[in-house]
């Protein structure tokens, strides 16, 4: 039996799926997974003034808890691995593009900030002292990785009660399998929906077709190219990546989006990274050995 729970967190609708019989154990797992979203969001949201991330951006340094230390370390490691295409220091560029409030508010009220933002600043994590320090003038946004981190944690908690799937907007983690085929997840292509059967896998979709707005008569979106500090001008609309964890899938989806169709296809093929690309001219490209 598939048990479900739906709630809102991190600016999106979150759905939990658990293949288990109803009872105290499954209820406990669903409850714990939902609480995990609330807990991590309270730490990592840049829209909450009392979060650890907001304290870091406000003061330039913070005595961080385990979660913030881990996510910042993962983000910095991803910056190295993707040659800077994924960068947690895009905060000011995002604000400059107008994404200075929760997306619901940006979409409702329109963007109001001005200017671009500098990316690639120095972020120092001192795990021994449990502290993080930012280069002066640099601020961090963990929106590109924090949700994947939370999805992975929630899925792990949920899977203590049985095969589990966590769907938080563009990030999905599936652990175990509810039947012989695995968890079936639909991927939107240019024409239709492609269904993938997953087991112990994660899916992340990044694109400019949902979180976008207009400013100064110009279309803006939230995927910042750190090399320019402006919304990426890619020939792709949407990239979906299948990886082992939602964190990895999240990072690679954004990185491939910035690489563009040719670069993303070549990179996915070389890495054997299953991915689905939707191009700006309405084509669907499947790469990375997905068949």
């Amino acid at each position: 039996m598939i048990l479900t729970r739906t709630f809102r967190a991190m600016g999106t609708d979150v759905e939990l799926f658990l293949a288990a019989d109803p009872g105290p154990a499954s209820d406990a797992a669903l409850y714990a997974a939902e609480r995990e979203f609330e807990r991590v969001e309270a730490l990592l949201s840049r829209f909450r003034p009392d979060s650890e991330l907001s304290a870091l951006n406000r003061d330039g340094h913070v005595a961080a808890g385990e979660d913030l230390l881990t996510v910042v370390e993962l983000a910095l490691e991803a910056r190295e691995r993707t040659n800077g295409r994924f960068d947690p220091t895009v905060h000011d560029a995002l604000v400059g593009a107008g994404y200075d409030r929760t997306f619901e508010e940006v979409a409702r009220e329109g963007a109001s900030s001005g200017g671009g933002g500098r990316c690639g600043g120095e972020v120092t994590v001192d795990r021994a002292r449990g502290s993080i320090r930012l280069e002066p003038g640099i601020h961090v946004d963990l929106g590109g990785i924090g949700k994947g981190y939370t999805v992975d944690r929630a899925a792990a908690i949920l899977s203590s009660a049985g095969p589990a799937l966590v769907d938080a907007g563009g990030d999905i983690a599936a652990l175990g399998r509810p039947d012989a085929l695995g968890w079936r997840v639909g991927i939107e292509t240019a024409e239709d929906t492609l269904t993938l059967a997953l087991e112990d896998a994660a899916v992340a979709t990044s694109g400019r077709d949902r979180r976008h707005w207009r400013r100064d008569g110009e279309e803006r979106h939230h995927l910042i190219d750190p090399s320019t500090g402006r919304p990426a001008d890619a020939d792709l609309v949407r990239v979906t990546v299948v990886e082992r964890t939602a964190v990895e899938a999240d990072v690679l989806a954004k990185s491939l989006f910035l690489a563009g169709e040719a670069g993303a296809t070549a990179e996915a093929t070389a890495l054997g990274l299953p991915c689905v690309l939707v191009t700006a001219d309405g084509r669907t490209v499947i790469a990375g050995g997905l068949s």
């Binding site: 759905e15 203590s160 563009g170 112990d200 896998a201 979709t205 694109g207 082992r244 068949s291």
Partner: protein
Amino acid sequence: MTNHVVRLYAFTGAVLVLFLTWAAVAARPWASHAAAKADPRWAALAAREHRLRHEALVVQRVVARRWRVYRVRLAARQRAISTAVRRHQQQLAAARAAAAAAAASYASAPSYSAPSSGGYSAPAAPSVRVVTLPPVTITRTS
């Protein structure tokens, strides 16, 4: 003078006779008491009063019986509710304890790693393939 006194006595006597006659007529000595009691309206009213008193007694007995039944059922229902609330609280306490244990065990992990918990260990590469079945969920752009 004598005639004047006589006329006065005569007038007083006439007034007295008139008053007594009026009193006698007003007393209606010809209307008997039995006739008054025999008025059918009185009988109907008395019968109706009797019937209403009887019906009131019947209603009171019915209400009393129903009230007793209601009190018995209410007590049984309250016992059932108490049992259900107690059972629900026990389940809730068990769920909270299990959730706290699950969260604590996961939070105690020293550092981030690929999600593996509850016997579901992630393999080196994700298992993925295209199928033609309807999806459980559809991914959205983040």
